[in-house]
């Protein structure tokens, strides 16, 4: 009797007191609740759709969209399909996010470093910048900038002309760009080649430094290549320097490059708002590196530039990267607020599609899927990156 008890105590306890069995029961209950709730919603939805005669499915993507989109990276007209319209939306979202990210990182870093400046005036101004922009809702900032563009800038006929060729109007900001020339395509390829060469050079320099201890000025040489490769191609094509200058014709400008008020306001709002958060992350990252590290590096005889490059930055970056990633993701997600000021981003195009076709479920599933894809792929990449740069501790 005693023997059996000590060998299998579980037999004497009722099954609801056995943690393992209880865990299984809890999980079954949780799954049952989730599944039945899901089924209930699915059932209701199907009944509602049948009543409203809405056919579900993604067939509507091939139908003609019959609406125009204000700005597009690829050629698009109202005769194209809904699928293509949504693609235009995705590209617009990517465009504003990509440009926004670059500007945000630059401005955020500058403001974050200024926040720690020994110059009282600069430090205080950065603090005000961070505090004010963080504490005002992004949507409000967007409509504010849009109002500034739209209400205070004049019509094209009375355009403000601060520099020759640059015009500020309520139709957008116009400025000259180089006139299109076949050389540009080859310059782009030259630039890509330079990128690849810089990458190879960096690996070679690192290996040589590991082997011989000799450092190689990688950054300066890489920058030189990135600039000189396209420049050589440009010279080879006889240095085409024609400009496409915006000219007033009728009620609007033609030629040159135009930043629409919608895009301008969205970009400005996103960059200013997000850069305040990035600045905080940069400040925290720099402050996280203890002063002893700087002193230790200097006592080894490193020059100030090398101290920053080899000791401070690698350690600060490790602290900065995770919050920076989430801010970049926030920027991408927040670009969906474009719908409030009429920039044709993905959400805005999908919203129009939903209103025209009534395919609400498919539309919202598409919106969620696209953003989920962007978020998850970014965080996968960032996880890989932070694992790669993780500190190997003693």
């Amino acid at each position: 009797m005693n023997g059996t008890l000590s060998h299998s105590p579980a037999q004497s306890a009722p099954f609801w007191n056995d943690p393992d069995k209880r865990a299984i029961i809890y999980q079954i209950i949780a799954l049952a609740i989730v599944l039945s709730a899901g089924y209930y919603l699915f059932h209701n939805t199907r009944a509602n759709l049948e009543r409203q005669n809405i056919a579900s499915g993604f067939k509507f993507l091939q139908k003609e969209s019959a609406f125009e989109i204000g700005e597009s990276l690829i050629s698009y007209s109202a005769a194209d399909s809904y699928g293509k319209a949504l693609l235009v939306g995705v590209l617009n979202t990517l465009k504003v996010s990509f440009i926004g990210m670059i500007l945000t990182v630059i401005i955020g870093t500058i403001v974050g470093i200024s926040r720690l400046s020994t110059n009282w005036l600069v430090a205080k101004l950065s603090a005000i910048y961070i505090e004010v922009l963080q504490d005002i809702p992004l949507l409000l900032q967007l409509v504010f900038w849009y109002a500034i563009f739209y209400e205070t800038f004049p019509s094209p006929r009375q355009a403000v002309n601060p520099m020759s060729g640059v015009f500020l109007t309520n139709r957008g900001i116009m400025f000259p760009i180089p006139a299109s020339h076949p050389a540009h395509e080859f310059m782009f390829y030259a630039f890509l080649t330079a990128c690849a060469a810089a990458f190879v050079l960096r690996r070679w320099a690192r290996r040589r430094q590991d082997r011989t201890g000799k450092a190689f000025p990688v950054i300066r040489v890489s920058l030189g290549m990135l600039f000189s490769f396209p420049a050589v191609v440009w010279l080879f094509f006889g240095s085409p320097s024609g400009l496409s200058v915006p000219v007033l014709s009728g009620f609007n400008f033609e030629g040159g490059m135009t930043i629409s008020p919608e895009f301008g306001a969205l970009l400005l709002g996103l960059v200013l708002y997000t850069s305040a958060f990035v600045a905080e992350a940069v400040r925290a990252g720099i402050q996280s590196v203890s002063h002893g590290q700087t002193e230790a590096a200097m006592s080894l005889g490193l020059k100030p530039g090398l101290v920053l490059n080899l000791v401070i930055l690698p350690q600060a970056l490790r602290v900065i990267i995770p919050p920076l990633t989430s801010q970049m993701l926030n920027l991408t997600k927040n670009s969906s607020l474009a719908v409030a000021i009429g920039y044709p981003d993905f959400v805005s195009v999908a919203n129009t599609t939903i209103n025209q076709t009534g395919q609400a479920i498919e539309g919202i599933v598409l919106i969620m899927a696209v953003y989920l894809f962007l978020s998850l792929s970014t965080s996968l990449f960032m996880n890989w990156y932070s694992k790669k740069t993780a500190m190997v501790e003693r």
């Binding site: 865990a23 809890y26 999980q27 079954i28 949780a30 799954l31 989730v34 919603l41 209701n44 939805t45 009944a47 509602n48 759709l49 009543r51 400046s117 020994t118 110059n119 009282w120 005036l121 600069v122 101004l125 505090e131 004010v132 963080q134 504490d135 005002i136 809702p137 992004l138 949507l139 409000l140 900032q141 409509v143 504010f144 109002a147 500034i148 209400e151 205070t152 997600k333 927040n334 969906s336 607020l337 719908v339 409030a340 959400v347 919203n351 939903i354 609400a360 479920i361 919202i364 919106i367 969620m368 953003y371 989920l372 978020s375 998850l376």
Partner: protein, 367 residues
């Protein structure tokens, strides 16, 4: 021999007095002109401020009009037209709420502010304050909705302006908090099915913008419900905000749970505490305390995010301002109206984030 020639025959050193390090001049030298780079920077910044600030003061105050009509603003002055605020103050703040019952949302806001002010002090964080919050929220709900003797019923589609913004964020936070804690516990659970459900939920919600959830609430929720059953728009938006905020709270709380040393879990278990007792008595009190500052941060962003309900045509503070601007008399004074709204948001958020920083300092001394 040569060194002797250098000795000053008068016996006095020809050394200049030391650089002043105290007083106003010392402060300026130390903080504004401590290197040639900083000196140039200071001069550039001062010049920019010298150009910008007088211009802004001229626009906002000297040329600004405060108590006129829109037409006068347009005709008379280049300055700011603050009259749009003074003339439409009631509408921007209270929106479509019936004018004769306006004291009700006003009392709600006073009550809420009082509760928040009392909650600032950590000495009061005890049961009575919790009960006061519950009572306060119920009173606010009753005051806004009415329907009891003496209070006329006000349908929720009339709720708008600042009270709507405050209700959405406060009720959103209060409801999302326990939900978020549950999700965090679920994510840390050892049961694979529960863990998967929680991870799936949290990552799904955090991966999509709030706007898509709001669209879902306004377009899809009606489809999800059985025929004949409808939920009003504000509640649906509120549900979306709660779902969204909960996922973010869950991640913050998870951080707190991870920061508690394993020894605490093991000690609680070896005392024979059940899972519920272990969490309630040992782990959560410590974990939730660590994450108070980031939680306030989430409260701030939830408050800011309520402004997104504009896109599903709810009339919060921003939307009432926008609809004032669509009145032909006041068209074109967006900048003034938006600055006013921005100041309201700024004061609220600044108070909250300042408080969170203070708490962070207070809580820093051990657990």
């Amino acid at each position: 021999m040569e060194t002797e020639n250098n000795i000053n025959p008068t016996g006095y050193d020809d050394v200049r007095p030391p650089v002043v390090h105290t007083g106003v001049i010392g402060w300026i030298r130390k903080n504004l002109f401590n290197s040639w780079f900083n000196s140039i920077l200071t001069l550039i910044v001062l010049y920019a401020l010298w150009k910008i600030i007088p211009m802004l003061i001229q626009w906002a105050f000297i040329d600004g009009l405060w108590m006129t009509g829109g037409a006068q603003c347009r005709a008379e002055s280049d300055g700011a037209c603050w009259s749009i605020i003074t003339a439409n103050f009631r509408f921007i703040i209270f929106g479509f709420y019936p004018q004769d019952s306006q004291w009700r949302p006003f009392v709600c806001m006073v009550l809420l502010t009082a509760l928040l002010l009392v909650s600032r002090n950590r000495r009061y964080w005890k049961k009575p304050l919790g009960l006061a919050w519950i009572a306060g929220l119920i009173i606010m709900g009753v005051l806004m909705y009415g329907g009891v003797p003496g209070l006329e019923r006000v349908e929720s589609d009339k709720w708008s302006g600042l009270p709507l913004t405050m209700l959405l964020s406060v009720f959103g936070m209060v409801a999302a908090y326990p939900f978020g804690v549950l999700l965090a516990l679920g994510r840390r659970s050892e049961m694979p099915a529960i863990k998967t459900i929680c991870i799936f939920y949290i990552e799904l919600i955090r991966g999509v913008p709030l706007i898509s959830l709001l669209f879902m609430s306004s377009i899809l929720f009606p489809l999800f419900l059985p025929e004949g059953l409808t939920i009003n728009k504000i509640l649906r938006a509120q549900a979306a905000i709660i779902m969204f905020t909960a996922a973010y709270i869950a991640e913050v709380v998870r951080g707190g749970l991870q920061a508690i040393p394993r020894g605490q879990y093991e000690a609680a278990e070896s005392m024979g505490l059940s899972y519920y007792q272990k969490m309630r008595l040992v782990i959560l009190p410590q974990a939730l305390k660590i994450v108070i500052p980031p939680t306030v941060g989430i409260l701030v962003s939830a408050f800011k995010d309520t402004s997104l309900v504009v896109v599903i045509a709810l009339y919060d503070l921003l939307a009432t301002a926008k609809s004032t601007l669509s009145n032909p008399e006041w068209m074109g004074f967006s900048v003034e109206a938006y600055i006013f709204i921005a100041i309201i948001y700024f004061i609220c958020c600044y108070a909250m984030s300042n408080y969170s920083r203070r708490l962070e300092r207070e809580l820093e001394t051990g657990r």
